[in-house]
Amino acid sequence: MNPMRMLAAFWRLNLAEELQYRANFVASVLGTVFYMATALLTLALFFRHTTALGGWDYWEIVVLLGVFNALTGVIEAVLRPGIGQLAGEVRSGELDLVLVKPVDPQAFVSFRRLDIWRFADVVLGLALAAYALHRLHRVPSLAQVATFGLTLAAAAVVVYAIWVALMSLAFWFVSVENIAVLFDAVYEGARYPVSAYPGALRFLFVYLIPIAWTTTIPASALTGRLRPGSALLAAVVAGVVFALARVLWRTALKRYTGASG
């Protein structure tokens, strides 16, 4: 089967579904604006006591906050309604109806449902980042924008891989429906540059739960902090994390079908 055709069918389906509820759009945008305002206020509160956080000044962190919000948009639009529902589907047995189809189940489960209004978060997040750059009087070069695009895509892949890995646990422990909460808790850590954390946490965020790659790196690309090699490294990290998550997913699926026992 043609994956693009399937993806197009999913998009069509979700668009048709969501257009019925236009009020969702307004609610979603209002929610995001409120959320961003709160985050900015908290940040402003911090900066009454300091002038820099992990070597980043106020508006630099706002750039990062914009990136954080853009990625949150991706999470809310694609990951939570898609692969985030896996635990429930394993428990109810609805996954069986996916597994008898001639499709890659990971792709099917990941992209079947979209909450398209939440893509507005991506736009709002990027707008916030752009505004912060303006306040910094910085106009990123074309190369910087390209690097930002690459690292942001890598960040999306990393976040996706983390979700796949977490949700794969559903095959072992059927009652992990709340595991998304665990992700949310850890992902809060991506709100600030990784250099703001003490050594042990930094190690954790770079190597074990690689959320440092999701916000710090793309934001650094925009603010001109990124060393040239780091963008490539981010792409490699994304590839590795994706591959690892895929292996975990396959192992989990084998367990589900009893192929490993």
Binding site: A9, L13, A16, E17, D96, V100, V103, T257, G258
Partner: protein, 335 residues
Amino acid sequence: MAPVVTAERLTKTFRVKVRDPGMKGAVQALVRPRNRDVQAVRDVTFAIEPGEIVAFLGPNGAGKTTTLKMLTGLLYPTSGRAEVAGFTPWTGGPECKRRLALVLGNRQQLVWDLPPEETFLLNRAIYDIGEAEYRERLAELVGLLELTEVLEKPVRQLSLGERMKCELAASLLHRPPLLFLDEPTLGLDVTAQEAIRRFLIQYRDRHGATVLLTSHYMQDVTALASRVLMINRGRLLYDGALGALVARITRMKRIELVLGGGDGGRVDAETLAAFGEVKSFRFPNAVLEVPRDEAPATSARILAALPVADLSIEDPPIEEVIRRAFAQGLEEEGT
């Protein structure tokens, strides 16, 4: 013809955690989990020819669904082999999956908030069905299942029966030669049940599809299946025609009488008991049970001795036969 589904000594053992009730049990299970092996399916062997409609019979937990899951590639067996449309289902991959459909009575693939046609279009993309073929097949399914008025309503507004019909349509757009149906009429009213049965037979006749189904409704089985596979505690107890199963399980026949004549009042239960076991007696109706091979002779004697307006010889109700079979075990009864 070569069989389209074969199972050979198919066996599935699940490892389940066991846990004593109460707080102590919970702690114990956490500290030192204990496992127990449960044999869901044991040594099941059968072969199904193309175009057959075969029903699995068995109480809950008998191993019907587990067998169905192995045949559709959802579960690996612990041992044994199977072949479905020329593939080993659990390693057959997409090519095997294109040749089968699985419909589960208690789960749905239809998108809840949208008209069913949206789900059809999704399946069209998944199975790579061309525009012309899609139109033609959809028209056929809509015609057979009488879905014209349903197609444009959101799924959430459909009745259970309409939803099941749409599930069937969605599952058959790629025109699979093999249908696996787990409780397809679950919870449906009689009219909807009949519509689904009629459809399955028509679909089989038109396309030569092979159908394997499980159902708790004996009407499904008697109306559809030329053959039943009776399964209990994971073992295949019987494989053959339903009529032969009934004959084998029950050595009794029922004689149903309607007494007539002016002096019908003189017939009492005691008189009837001389001919066979009285299952019920409410003048003028009476039901007797007599040994199968004596039924013709006994009927003749009843007709000669009593004022009978009507008499018929029937098998005991099929539900009762099956219930009895599972309660007593087929082996003892069959001897």
